[in-house]
């Protein structure tokens, strides 16, 4: 069983390209120049883990704006059970408290987050679909080398940055190198590309 898990992990790594690694390559500063601050964990964790983290996150959603499915067994679980582990401010991260919810004020969790494993009596037949979902932008843009990166994703219902970018984040590659700073949007602005201007929407016009 362990062998299978290792094999799956290796396959996942192999199947992911190495483009982010290239992006993270930095050239040495010229004399008199200041080195660009390492403001993104993307630049400090191994590229293969960045890839694996991204693949994992993408695998939980059918497309960018879809809520993630529940990546664990949900047999017998009710709405009321979710925040037992996914509380907004879990004191200690552990295997039992994997990730807080960034919108703890929402209490009907199972309204949006679907089970990914059917109940025991069900059999899943494959769904034949041509769906291709929108990918989530996953890396901020910088206006220049020393500028703070923009927030590449939308912020609505994810207002609590530290849940995903704090030191307790499930994803090492998302962790901020400066967790002592708490006013994130002082420097990191939502990227223009993550806004949603509604088009009037009339094919013939």
């Amino acid at each position: 069983m362990n062998g299978i898990i290792r094999l799956v992990a290796v396959l996942l790594l192999v199947s992911c390209g190495a483009r982010a690694g290239e992006d993270a390559t930095e050239s040495a500063p010229a004399p008199g120049q200041v080195a660009a601050p390492a403001t993104s964990a993307v630049e400090t964790v191994p590229p293969e883990q960045v890839e694996a983290d991204r693949a994992h996150r993408a695998g939980l959603r059918a497309f960018y704006t879809a809520p993630p499915v529940i990546p664990h067994d949900t047999e017998g679980l009710r709405n009321q059970d979710c925040q037992g582990c996914h509380e907004n401010n879990s004191p200690e991260p552990s295997d039992q408290t994997p990730l807080g919810t960034p919108h703890f004020q929402r209490t009907n969790c199972l309204q949006c987050h679907l089970a990914s494993e059917p109940w025991t009596g069900g059999t899943v037949t494959p769904v034949a679909s041509d769906w291709v979902g929108l990918e989530q932008p996953n890396e901020g843009r910088r206006a220049h080398e020393a500028a703070p990166p923009t927030i590449p994703h939308r912020v609505r219902m994810r207002e609590n940055c530290s849940l995903c970018h704090g030191p307790e984040s499930l994803y090492e590659s998302l962790q901020t190198p400066h967790p002592e700073r708490t006013s994130c949007q002082q420097c990191h602005l939502p990227d223009a590309a993550s806004r949603f201007e509604i088009t009037r929407g009339d094919l013939e016009k």
Partner: protein
């Protein structure tokens, strides 16, 4: 990588493989660095395709394909939130087995044909026997779709055999409103959930079926500090514990059908305790006996005598204490109470009565026509209100709340449609159940089914659809269904944002969207399909398809009155917005009963408007949050405060009806000892024709199941996962048992969802219906269970 993260990583990776990756992008692509959304991505507004809540969605379109959906923060219904179905609605378009070309059955097999051939064939067959043809439509029809079918049948064929699946869903609600208030559709709105302090659900699992509304109230409730003196209260009344019950402060479990007695018991207490709203009753209410005779308050008091808490507790299984809790809440003049219900009350052999009775409770307590206090009938389908009830696509209806039986109403429609007086048939057509029975007997010879799936949803299928294969059956749909399997002609339809549309939700909100992507293959709009058949009949000289000047009855005209050749697909699809023309043609019908819908262009500009929408003195179109309320509804006269202006008697009074408890037609006995209740689940919409092709929804809920109370399971020797045969007097099916499921039925009751086309629970259900609304009861019949494992 520290130890914890490595462990997590391995765990996650293993799980990811098990998930088979939801995002079906090019391998590796999803994980590459990606700093912006793609060029050319555009976002458009639409209402969600699925339920009657009517959430606003924003649809992301790239290269002619839907690629994302998110909640519309500017829509007052959902304020940016959706449910799992709504978020994944765009995926419904892309199942691999979309119907992409017309087909005609030859020698038992469906064969591909051209559109011309299909349209010719349908026109021929209808012209052979136009009076015995029928249309079975849907609460999922857009307003344009329902309107054109209505005109095609009633003005074109002079035939009233058109009915929608809303008959199985909302008919009791509509007849309940018409009998109590003289006019259909709720007076309150969703905003009342933001202002009430108490919500009572009458047999309604809104956590799963109207989750966005459930969250709207529940998030507000949970946000109150535990120490706050102003706690919000949620009371759930039902026959099984559901996901909603888990959030309730009080759960009142009643014996099926005794909701009738419980409602009367509340009124009994209001009178006995003298806590009814005397001023409201004096000003706005009158009393009627069950036979329609006038009643005094004292007569009504005498009628209520059998409904004391003691007696009703014995009948219903609800404790006296809990019944008194309800009486106390309605008797408290400071409480603001919203009652909610949907199929639990509507799919009921006394569906009209129970709707009347809940209005009685709110009228007697004066909890109506006030912000935060209202009885509110939720709808199941996205345009059950907008299309079926407002366009009047029932066998007895005409647009704008009119009736075929009323000469004045027929004359108004004949004038608006420019047809000769006497064109419209004064005799109501067959309602849904009678329509299918008439098809069985051969009295009706043909049917065109649009946007629904009766082969799966009609109760007692063995009895009611067994002859459908032998009749001329046309089915317009987007995927193969149980019904297309029986069809002679299958027409591929455009789905949701592949066409223009307007729909109306539960709170009178009309919402519009534009086509965003093209339908696949040769699929075409339902509206075009009807237009094309009508035009073919016109060309062949069918008299009904001419108006009184000899012009094409269904002519689509531009703003200058010039006829557009909309029956030509290229014209329809590319050069002219037929949906706008149809909506503007329909709009004048809505004024008579003060149901004025907004002009199309206002709907384009806004995120939906609640009717009546009337221009104010500055020319601004104003929506109405609460009907019959002075200051909100422009049709209420000054100084009236509340005016039930729909009252048939013209006295502005709503009617409190003395409706008794009546036992259901089939109750459990020795041979069939259990109640069967059917319903929906959060993941699936209707018969899962669409949601069954959406991977995350299907994976979460792949197949139907049966739920039993654990003690009943034990008594029958049944264990989790066992295959169970469920048998009624009408049929039987086998389902796996789910004991750890999401609902807990009361002792003696089992629950089965109806979405699964491989497990047709309607083989088992009863086809008895409410004699007033003709809506069948899918919630109560007698069955037995046995293990087949």
């Amino acid at each position: 990588m520290n130890g914890l993260n490595r462990r997590d990583f391995i765990k996650r990776s293993a799980h990811l493989a098990a998930l088979a990756v939801l995002a079906p992008t090019v391998p590796g692509k999803a994980s590459a660095a990606n700093t912006s959304l793609p060029d050319g991505l555009a976002w458009y507004k639409a209402p969600c395709r699925f339920c009657g809540t009517g959430c606003g969605v924003i649809v992301g379109v790239l290269d002619g394909r839907v690629v994302a959906v998110q909640g519309d923060p500017d829509n007052t219904v959902n304020k940016g939130l959706l449910c799992a179905k709504g978020y994944h609605a765009g995926m419904a378009l892309y199942g691999k087995d979309r119907l992409t070309h017309p087909m005609i059955r030859r020698n038992g097999k469906l064969k591909r044909v051209s559109w011309d051939e299909a349209i010719d064939h349908i026109a021929d067959r209808i012209m052979e026997d136009p009076k015995r043809f029928s249309i079975y439509g849907s609460g999922q029809w857009t307003i344009g779709e329902g309107y054109i079918c209505q005109k095609f049948m009633k003005a074109g064929l002079g035939n009233n055999h058109i009915d929608p699946n809303a008959r199985l869903c909302m008919a009791s609600a509509a007849v309940g409103l018409v009998t109590t208030f003289g006019v259909d559709e709720p007076s309150g709105c969703y905003d009342d959930l933001d202002e009430c302090d108490t919500v009572i659900t009458w047999g309604n699992n809104w956590a799963e079926m109207h989750p966005v509304l459930f969250s709207r109230f529940m998030d507000r409730k949970h946000a109150r500090a535990k120490s706050s003196p102003d706690q919000l209260t949620y009371i759930d009344m039902g026959t099984r514990r559901t996901r909603s019950t888990l959030a309730a402060d009080h759960y009142l479990e009643f014996v099926p059908q005794t909701d009738l007695a419980i409602a009367n018991c509340i009124c009994y207490q209001l009178l006995a305790e003298d806590t009814y709203d005397k001023a409201f009753v004096a000003d706005h209410v009158r009393f009627k006996g069950n036979d329609g005779s006038e009643m005094t308050l004292e007569d009504y008091r005498a009628f209520l005598a059998p409904y004391s808490p003691e007696k009703v507790a014995a009948l219903s299984g609800v404790s006296e204490e809990q019944l008194r809790l309800l009486g106390g809440i309605f008797g408290d003049p400071h409480r603001k109470v919203v009652s909610l219900w949907c199929m639990g009350m509507n799919q009921h052999t006394r569906g009209t009565w129970i709707n009347n009775l809940v209005y009685n409770v709110h009228l007697l307590s004066g909890k109506i026509g006030k912000a935060g206090s209202t009885p509110f009938s939720l709808t199941g389908q996205p345009s059950a209100c907008g299309t079926c009830r407002e366009v009047g696509t029932f066998a007895h209806g005409l647009p704008g709340g009119r009736l075929v039986a009323k000469a004045e109403h027929r004359a108004e429609c004949e004038a608006l449609w420019n047809v000769r007086p006497g064109t419209l048939n004064p005799k109501p057509g067959y309602h849904t159940m009678k329509m299918f029975q008439a098809l069985n007997s051969g009295e009706l010879t043909g049917m065109w089914v649009q946007v629904t799936n009766p082969g799966q949803t009609i109760p007692n299928l063995n009895q009611n659809v067994n002859q459908l294969r032998d009749r001329f059956l046309v089915v317009s749909d987007v995927y193969p269904t149980v019904t297309t399997e029986m069809a002679d002609v299958v027409l591929p339809a455009a789905l949701w944002v592949e066409k223009h549309g307007v729909v109306g939700n539960s709170e009178r909100k009309t919402q519009q969207w534009f086509r965003m992507v093209n339908p696949p293959g040769e699929a075409r709009d339902d509206v075009w399909q009807v237009l094309a058949v009508a035009r073919r009949m016109y060309e062949r000289g069918f008299e009904g398809m001419r108006d009184k000047d000899g012009n094409f009855l269904l002519a689509i005209r531009d703003e200058k009155g010039r006829e557009i050749k909309a029956w030509k697909w290229k014209v329809f699809n590319k050069t002219f917005n037929v949906d706008r023309a149809l909506f503007e043609e329909y709009r004048p019908f809505t004024i008579k009963k003060h149901k004025d819908v907004a002009p199309y262009d206002e709907l384009v500009r806004t995120h939906g408007l609640r009717w009546p929408v009337v221009q104010d003195s500055r020319g601004v179109w104003r929506e109405t949050k609460r009907r019959f309320v002075e200051g909100e509804d422009p049709y209420v006269e000054e100084g009236k405060a509340v005016q039930f202006y729909g009252a048939a008697a013209g006295d502005d009074r709503a009617i409190i009806w003395a409706r008794p408890y009546e036992a259901p037609p089939e109750v459990p006995d020795d041979e069939y000892p259990l109640w069967l209740c059917t319903g929906r689940v959060l993941e699936h919409w209707h018969t899962a024709t669409m949601t069954g092709r959406i991977k995350p929804l299907h994976d979460a809920m792949p197949r139907a199941y049966v739920e039993l109370h654990p003690e009943d399971a034990e008594a029958h020797g049944l264990n989790e996962g066992d295959l169970v045969r469920i048998t009624s007097r009408r049929g039987s099916i086998v389902l796996p048992l789910w004991l750890q499921g999401r609902s807990l039925p009361q002792r003696g009751l089992i629950f089965v969802p109806f979405f699964d086309e491989t497990k047709l629970i309607n083989m088992v259900t009863l086809d008895a219906y409410c004699p007033m609304s003709k809506e069948p009861d899918f919630k109560k019949c007698a069955v037995r269970v046995e293990s087949v494992t």
